[in-house]
């Protein structure tokens, strides 16, 4: 039963969806504070390359090294996000162009490739990689076993992040403040909330999560370094935030849905069914466009729409 196609597709959807989930949660935090960062792909790639560097170069027992590598990836992602934050928050540059610039700067033909080259990472296979753990010894459980209890620690960590971020945005004062900053920075400013500080903090947190998302590739899914390792996952993550109506819990569902579409053609191929993979791969993008159309129609906009000030720089003197 555990080899049935549905179970395999769901389990691999979770594995492939996890980097999307991390990156989307990060982008969600930035967007909720009103910053649209299109540089996710670049931040993921730098996270991936630095995480892989850490795993190759840091000494110690495997578990510790992997944990440190995830931390390094997070810091690397945040550092890249800092460049972006400085440009769009302090210097009030156009967020769209700056985000694209960040992807070009850090992306597959930029900093990530330069670092991978200069640090000589492409030569050796990974020393350690995240392996599926048999949580509570329950992986033999029918259906649920392979889906819930035979994943890597990264997957379990992503679930914790979903719960934490959902609770943060809905139940804590800073979380409510972020939403105020994203919806109406002028109002937030009048309440005495520092728009600049909140936007910096959440853009950096977004970069850190994108870095971890990138590390999901280089430390778990495809433990190695090649240029452009993430293969466009950063763009899917941006789509995912919209698909999930800017809600963390829906990001989880959406990530696995999109992940399953990525994995489905290969699963089918392995079983002798040939379908053009492009049809499945195009679905997430098409569905995101449809969701965006629904979101931008009048009634839905009030309940489900984007943060009101998304993409607009805040200039205190110009209300």
């Amino acid at each position: 039963m555990n080899n049935s196609i549905i179970v395999v597709v769901i389990a691999s959807g979770i594995a492939y969806g996890t980097p999307l989930l991390f990156a989307a949660l990060g982008e969600l935090l930035a967007e909720r504070s009103g910053v649209l960062n299109l540089g996710v792909e670049g931040m993921m790639l730098v996270g991936a390359v630095m995480g892989f560097w850490a795993v190759q170069r840091i000494g110690g027992p495997g578990g510790t090294v992997l944990f440190l590598a995830v931390l390094v990836a997070a810091v690397a992602g945040a550092v890249v996000a800092l460049v972006f934050a400085f440009l769009v928050i302090t210097l009030r540059a156009n967020q769209i162009v700056s985000g694209l610039a960040l992807t070009i700067f850090a992306g597959a033909a930029g900093l990530s490739s330069y670092l991978g080259n200069d640090l000589g990472l492409a030569e050796a296979p990974a020393r350690y990689a995240f392996q599926p753990v048999n949580l509570f010894g329950l992986n033999d459980l029918p259906i649920l076993g392979p889906i819930l209890f035979e994943q890597t620690w990264l997957v379990y960590a992503s679930w914790a992040f979903v719960v934490l971020i959902a609770a943060y945005l809905a139940r804590t004062r800073p979380g409510l403040n972020v939403r105020a900053v994203g919806e109406s920075p002028q109002t937030a400013d009048a309440m005495g909330i520092s728009v600049t500080a909140y936007r910096y903090a959440h853009t950096l947190a977004g970069g850190a999560l994108a870095g971890i998302g990138g590390a999901c590739f280089s430390l778990a899914l495809t433990p190695q370094w090649v240029d452009g390792l993430t293969g466009g996952a950063g763009w899917i993550a941006i789509a995912l935030v919209i698909f999930a109506f800017w809600r963390p819990e829906l990001c989880l569902v959406g990530a696995y849905f999109f992940g399953a579409f990525q994995a489905l053609p290969f699963t089918l191929q392995a079983r002798g069914v040939t379908v053009a993979p492009e049809l499945f791969q195009a679905l997430p993008y098409v569905m995101t466009v449809i969701v965006l159309v629904i979101v931008s129609s009048g009634i839905a906009k009030r309940r489900l729409g984007a943060p009101g000030a998304l993409g607009i720089p805040f200039v205190r003197e110009e209300r």
Binding site: L36, L38, V83, L87, L91, R92, A93, N94, I96, V97, S98, L100, A101, L102, T103, I104, F105, A106, G107, A108, A109, G110, L111, S112, S113, Y114, L115, G116, N117, D118, T196, D227, G232, W235, I238, A239, I242, A276, P277, E278, L279, Q281, A282, Y285, V286, T288, V289, L292, V293, S296, S297, A306, G311, V315, R316, E317, E318
Partner: protein, 375 residues
């Protein structure tokens, strides 16, 4: 000491030249630091770069080849961004232009060269415009944000391109020749569909000339016609445009179609000038991100069509030099880092055009005054 940033009431003309030049200088300084930090001599690298881009034998021809697609996607982005329409779908619109132009070239095989070339140009324009009208219509009639829709459609267009060559028996796919049995490829266009070139020591592709023509038309359209004036008003103040009776929806559709058509022309030029086939393999049309780089080109040119020509040649030269020099002294990825740095400083420098930065020494004991400006 405190720093204040104030909006300029008027922007002096010299700033719009001084700031980009200054930004470029700062960028090269910062890149020099990166090079030094990683153990490369910046002066030697810059000299090699300049030689490989412009002065070496045949380098300028290569640079123009690289600049041609960036010229079109840069104009496409400039056309849309002028109206605050953030069409970042130039990438997908370029693919569609290539699909359309190659269809025209294949369908009309046997016709004379002028007929073929005109048909390819028309088909490229139309296909690019049609793909851009999807986000355009959604924006005009359902006020759906065009940034994300045009971005998503890039991927859909890329997957359609792959599908046409790799996973279907489409009209574009070559199914007869022996090499097609080994690896899926597109049908080759007839020789008469090859666009001409000009010059011998420096080879100028027909597409590049076409791009300069397009830049001139775009400039005239935006600064010499009623249409351009209305676009400017709507971009500065949509409300003012609406109250004075301008048809905003039609302008959105027209500008998106224009932008898509320019990107589509870039796709047609890829097929007509250089590739002579619709390709979809990872080293083909999809490998270079012409559409995204075009946005960078447009931003660096501050959305001025003639400046786009200049910047396209500069960035084309940088990319050409990057691929020519790639090796231990010039690691891959350096070109992207350089492009990114140039763009960052240009975007940051934009602040100096729009705002004035005032540095004042805080008066002693002026607590009230400093809390007034802190923020």
């Amino acid at each position: 000491m405190n720093i204040r940033i104030e909006r300029r009431l008027s922007q002096p003309r010299w700033l719009s030249v001084a700031v980009p030049v200054g930004s470029l200088a700062v960028a090269f300084l910062l890149i020099a630091l990166v090079l030094l930090a990683t153990g490369h001599d910046p002066l030697v690298t810059y000299r090699d770069l300049f030689e490989a881009a412009f002065t070496a034998n045949g380098a300028l021809s290569q640079t123009l080849t690289g600049a041609t697609p960036l010229l079109f996607t840069g104009l496409a982005a400039a056309a849309a961004f002028r109206m605050n329409l953030f069409n970042i779908g130039g990438e997908g619109q370029l693919y569609f232009g290539a699909i359309g132009a190659s269809a025209a070239g294949l369908l009309l095989a046997g016709q004379s060269a002028p007929v073929l070339i005109v048909a390819m140009i028309a088909a490229g324009l139309a296909a690019g415009a049609a793909w851009a009208l999807i986000p355009g219509i959604l924006r005009a009639y359902l006020s759906t944000n065009e940034i994300i829709t045009s971005l998503m459609l890039n991927y859909v267009a890329g997957l359609i391109l792959t599908y046409l060559i790799f996973d279907s028996h489409s009209y574009w796919r070559d199914t007869t020749s022996p090499s097609a049995a080994v690896f899926p490829i597109g049908k080759s266009l007839p020789d008469a569909a090859n666009w001409p070139t000009f010059g011998s020591s420096v080879v100028v592709p027909f597409g590049f000339m076409l791009g300069i023509g397009a830049a001139t038309v775009l400039w005239a359209l935006y600064s010499r016609t009623r249409f351009g004036f209305e676009v400017q008003v709507i971009s500065d103040s949509p409300r003012a445009g609406r109250y004075s009776g301008m048809r905003t929806r039609r302008k959105i559709l027209a500008v998106m179609a224009l932008s898509g058509a320019l990107a589509g022309l870039g796709g047609a030029s890829q097929v007509g000038d250089f590739r002579h086939v619709l390709d979809a393999d990872p080293k083909g049309l999809r490998a270079y991100g012409y559409g995204y780089t075009g946005i960078v080109v447009a931003a660096l040119a501050r959305y001025n069509p003639f400046a786009v020509v200049l910047v396209a040649v500069l960035i084309g030269g940088l990319q050409n030099a990057g691929s020519a020099l790639q090796g231990p002294d010039f690691p891959s990825g350096l070109v992207g880092v350089m492009e990114g740095m140039i763009l960052f400083t240009a975007l940051g420098g934009e602040l100096l055009v729009r705002y004035r930065v005032r540095i004042r020494r805080a008066r002693r004991g002026a607590g009230a005054a400093s809390s007034e400006v802190a923020g």
